[in-house]
């Protein structure tokens, strides 16, 4: 990398490289997701054909079942809400140079803690008190799980990838034990309904959403995206965090304590993932149920990746993956809904591989143009 910036100024080349670097940045940001969608569409066609169906008809069905009616759209919003949280969680970690693969466990712990607070509060606690307390419980729950890799990374330099993977299993096993032995409603794998802290559905205001799980935790998700954007790009702490992610040694030189930034980023990441659990617990079922996370934490990685770790991109990517997920149900009668899970995985792989490829191509364009 440093070779590209080695001294020896060359006036003839400099303006060209500058131009390319600007156009290049935009291209580098948008090209990979677009390429990925194209590849996914082709793979989707093949899968649909393998089931003897018409791709055009299936994709039409998928769109009609999601953006085509209020219920479907409500479900997309509901799913996108959780994904926005987990996507933001992964994104803020990556901005600090950390890969939080533990969003799945943090999400579950957040949901559990929200339910726990809601159960501990007396019946009839006003919503203005109960909801913030439940949200705080969720954030704390997620952050507490994330504190383990945060501390181990900051203190011992332990790989946060390995620790978060392992911690997912530990967290889920622990919660399963709690639910199985201490807190469940008989013959079920969920807690009793919470006494306070329930969040209203969107359908209570807009009747067309009736039946869909979309609820006002959506606003918390959007606020979180706004906050993360402000934090990353408008605060000193965000400046420090991004510097640590890009060049830890330069950040250290600039007076930033790298270890504490890692810990703080991990705690924020965990808190965001934990808040994701409220969408199900407070906004939908009003109880914690084993396995409710159902991969939304892992999907957060895809959301952050496709959203290029930018809060606005994360919201858009969350909508995209939520559409795919809900669309799977819409087409399930014709082709197995797992088709969209395949497409999701294909999108992730395609983005992961096209990011470095696009950068390489851009570099060689600059080189070629310079000759």
């Amino acid at each position: 990398m440093s070779l590209i910036n080695e001294a020896i100024p060359d006036p003839a080349v400099a303006p060209l490289s500058r131009l390319s670097s600007r156009v290049g940045r935009a291209t580098a940001a948008l090209l990979p997701p677009l390429t990925a969608l194209l590849i996914a569409a082709v793979v989707g066609d093949l899968l649909i054909l393998s089931f003897g169906q018409s791709p055009a008809a299936v994709f039409k069905l998928l769109l009609e079942g999601t953006w085509g009616n209020a219920y479907g759209f409500g479900q997309v919003i509901y799913k996108a809400t959780t994904l926005t949280f987990t996507g933001l969680a992964v994104a803020i970690g990556i901005r600090a140079g950390l890969f939080n693969i533990g969003a799945e466990g943090q999400l579950a712990m957040g949901g559990f803690c929200a339910a726990l607070v809601g159960l501990l509060l007396p019946v009839g606690t006003p919503a203005v008190v109960a909801i913030p307390l439940c949200l705080a419980g969720a954030a704390l729950g997620g952050a507490s799980v994330a504190s383990v890799p945060g501390v181990l990374k900051a203190r011992f330099g332990a790989s946060e990838v390995i620790v978060t993977i392992m911690l997912n299993f530990i967290t889920l096993a622990f919660l399963n034990w709690l639910i199985a032995t201490k807190l469940n409603v008989a013959e079920s794998l969920h807690t009793p309904e919470i006494n306070a802290g329930a969040v209203a559905r969107l359908s209570s205001v807009i009747d067309a959403f009736r039946g869909s799980a979309a609820n006002f935790v959506l606003l918390v998700a959007l606020a979180a995206a706004g906050y993360v954007g402000w934090y990353l790009f408008r605060t000193r702490a965000g400046y420090d965090l991004r510097a640590v992610g890009l060049q830890p040694e330069a950040a250290e030189y600039g007076g930033v304590k790298v270890g504490s930034v890692w810990l703080r980023a991990m705690l924020m990441s965990g808190a965001l993932a934990g808040l994701g659990g409220t969408n199900y617990v407070l906004g939908y079922k009003q109880y914690y149920e084993e396995g409710f996370a159902a991969g939304a934490g892992f999907l957060g990685i895809a959301v952050a990746l496709v959203g290029r770790n930018h809060p606005a991109g994360v919201v858009v990517a969350a909508l995209l993956f939520a559409t795919l997920s809900q669309g799977g149900l819409a087409v399930n009668a014709v082709v197995p809904k797992q088709m969209v899970d395949v497409l999701t995985a294909v999108v992730i792989i395609a983005v992961a591989t096209s990011v470095p490829e696009v950068q390489r191509l851009l570099r060689s364009t600059v080189r070629g143009g310079a000759k």
Binding site: I8, S17, Q247, A250, Y253
Partner: protein, 532 residues
């Protein structure tokens, strides 16, 4: 070219003609040439960034040239691979060792050309082969030891053995002495002479003139990616080679020396270092019980071959590296226990040696880089004040003529000189400070920017700042400093006043050679713990 047609008769082992190579927007070589005769020790000299390493790597098959011709023993091998180069007997010893630390010496040696017994590795055979090679060359090392347990000198021996094991007849060494102690250098010269006397060809990259004179029979000088010329060692002088190497610098140095030493140096002690010992991953005393004082209103320059502890010294003062003993104080403040930020707040400014690694966040805009380390001053209640960041950027860009004048451009897109101006602007104008650490302040920077940065350093001195300057460029140290310390193996072997510090005097000290009067000037004693 001084070889004439003599080269033809003795046989040309290696030839490069008009070779060019570009990395992205950077031109590493432009029409570089080289002609090495069989059996000679050929030195390739030039400043940092002259394109020596790139040219050597093309000879060894690591890169393909964009243009030009490379011949080995008269055969066109342009653009060949490492494997082909090895097969043809061309081997390269890299500046950064190409050894696998978790493997043994024998395993590293045979890697890629393993001896086998059936389908299994023949370990005993490999170890025996290493031993016999050791005997033949006089380079000894235990084949069973792990490379991670070797000293730097031993690791280099393994590198050379590795190349010889592959039957190299042409040996290319990239700055082999940079990491060696003087006895190890002597040992290396002995081995190279032996190889050469047995018909082997040695090409050696270095920028140390004393080495060139001592070991080589022919010299090729490179500058800015081009070959300046080739001379026979016995037909030239160090001054002659230096003239070829630096070109412009000779004129620059002359002007600068006129200007140097105006500082009074009699201000109060601004930076005091006492008994400082700094460990590195390589040894426990990279900086060895060092004591000195820099006064307000002087430039205290540290001359020395790179790797003698300068980097560790500066990083320890800046708080980026832990010291194992000693004290550092700035005015009345004891820095030793302070964080990087606290040291900076206490009045320490730092131009780091590597702007790509430390001095700049390359993906950040010029504007954001101009506040690196000053984040707190540009924020209120934790929120960055974007307008002030912008206003600061506009102002510094104008003051320091940073081009292009676009605050939003990522630092990566700037030329080396302009990148360094960003660092200098931030560290010297953006803040209050009393002590400036300037480490390699003009490395990889164009001539115009060098003059500008030198002027800045002088005016800081004139404004009463204490400046601690470290540079691998002796001309620069001599031109700017009021006092010159010569650093060798973690200690100051001499501290000289402006008037005493001449090239002739400092040069030998840098490579650990004591001159007649013991190298101790009136500038003070260099004894450990002594006040300088």
């Amino acid at each position: 070219m001084g070889t004439g047609d003599g080269g033809r008769e003795t046989g040309v082992a290696l030839r490069a003609v008009g070779v060019s190579k570009r990395f992205g927007v950077v031109r590493a070589n432009l029409g570089a040439s080289l002609e090495v005769r069989r059996g000679e020790i050929h030195a390739v000299v030039g400043e940092n960034g002259a394109g020596k390493s790139t040219l050597m790597r093309m000879l060894a098959g690591m890169y393909a040239p964009d243009a030009g011709l490379i011949e080995v023993e008269g055969r066109d091998v342009t653009g060949w691979s490492t494997r082909e180069a090895i097969a043809a007997g061309v081997g390269m010893v890299h500046q950064h060792f190409m050894l696998v630390p978790t493997l043994t010496v024998a395993e590293n040696l045979v890697l890629g050309q393993e001896l086998t017994k059936g389908v299994q590795l023949d370990r005993a055979g490999a170890e025996a082969a290493v031993r016999s090679l050791c005997e033949r060359t006089g380079l000894t090392v235990d084949p069973r030891r792990l490379v991670s347990d070797l000293t730097v000198g031993e690791a280099q021996r393994v590198e050379i053995l590795k190349v010889l094991y592959r039957g190299a007849k042409i040996l290319i060494l990239d700055e082999p002495t940079a990491v060696l102690s003087p006895p190890e250098v002597v040992e290396l010269w002995r081995v190279l002479r032996r190889l050469s006397s047995e018909g082997g060809t040695v090409v050696l990259i270095t920028h140390k003139l004393d080495e060139v004179i001592e070991i080589s029979s022919t010299i090729t000088v490179m500058r800015a990616g081009e070959t300046v010329g080739q001379v026979r060692t016995d037909e030239t002088t160090p001054a002659g080679i230096a003239r070829m190497m630096v070109g412009r610098d000779v004129r620059l140095a002359a002007e600068m020396e006129m200007d140097g030493g105006r500082g009074t140096g009699d201000g109060r002690a601004a930076l005091r270092v006492a008994g400082l010992t700094v460990p590195s991953s390589r040894r426990p005393n990279e900086v060895d019980n060092l004591s000195f004082t820099v006064r307000a209103g002087e430039i205290f320059g540290i001359a020395g071959v790179e790797g003698n502890g300068q980097t560790e010294l500066i990083e320890a003062i800046a708080g980026l590296r832990a010291a194992s003993a000693g004290s550092i104080s700035l005015g009345e403040a004891d820095l030793a226990k302070m964080s990087v930020r606290e040291r900076s707040a206490a009045g320490l400014s730092h131009i780091p040696e590597d702007r790509h690694r430390r001095g700049l966040v390359l993906e950040y805009s010029v504007g954001d880089n101009l506040i690196l380390g000053l984040q707190r001053r540009f924020s209120v209640n934790g929120a960055l004040q974007r307008e002030r960041v912008q206003a600061n950027a506009t102002r510094r860009i104008r003051e320091f003529d940073i081009r292009p004048p676009t605050p939003a451009l990522p630092a990566r897109a700037l030329s080396g000189g302009n990148q360094q101006k960003v660092v200098v602007a931030r560290e010297m104008r953006g803040r209050e400070y009393s002590v400036l650490l300037a480490s390699q302040p003009t490395r990889g920077v164009d001539v115009g920017a060098i003059e500008f940065i030198h002027a800045q350093l002088r005016s800081a001195r004139d404004a009463g700042k204490a400046v601690l300057l470290v540079s691998a460029d002796l001309v620069e140290v001599l031109a700017l400093s009021d006092r010159v310390a010569v650093m060798y193996e973690g200690r100051f072997v001499a501290v000289l006043d402006r008037g005493e510090a001449t090239r002739e005097r400092v040069g030998p000290l840098m490579v650990g050679v004591e001159t007649g009067d013991g190298g101790r000037g009136t500038g003070g004693s260099a004894e450990p713990g002594g006040e300088v």
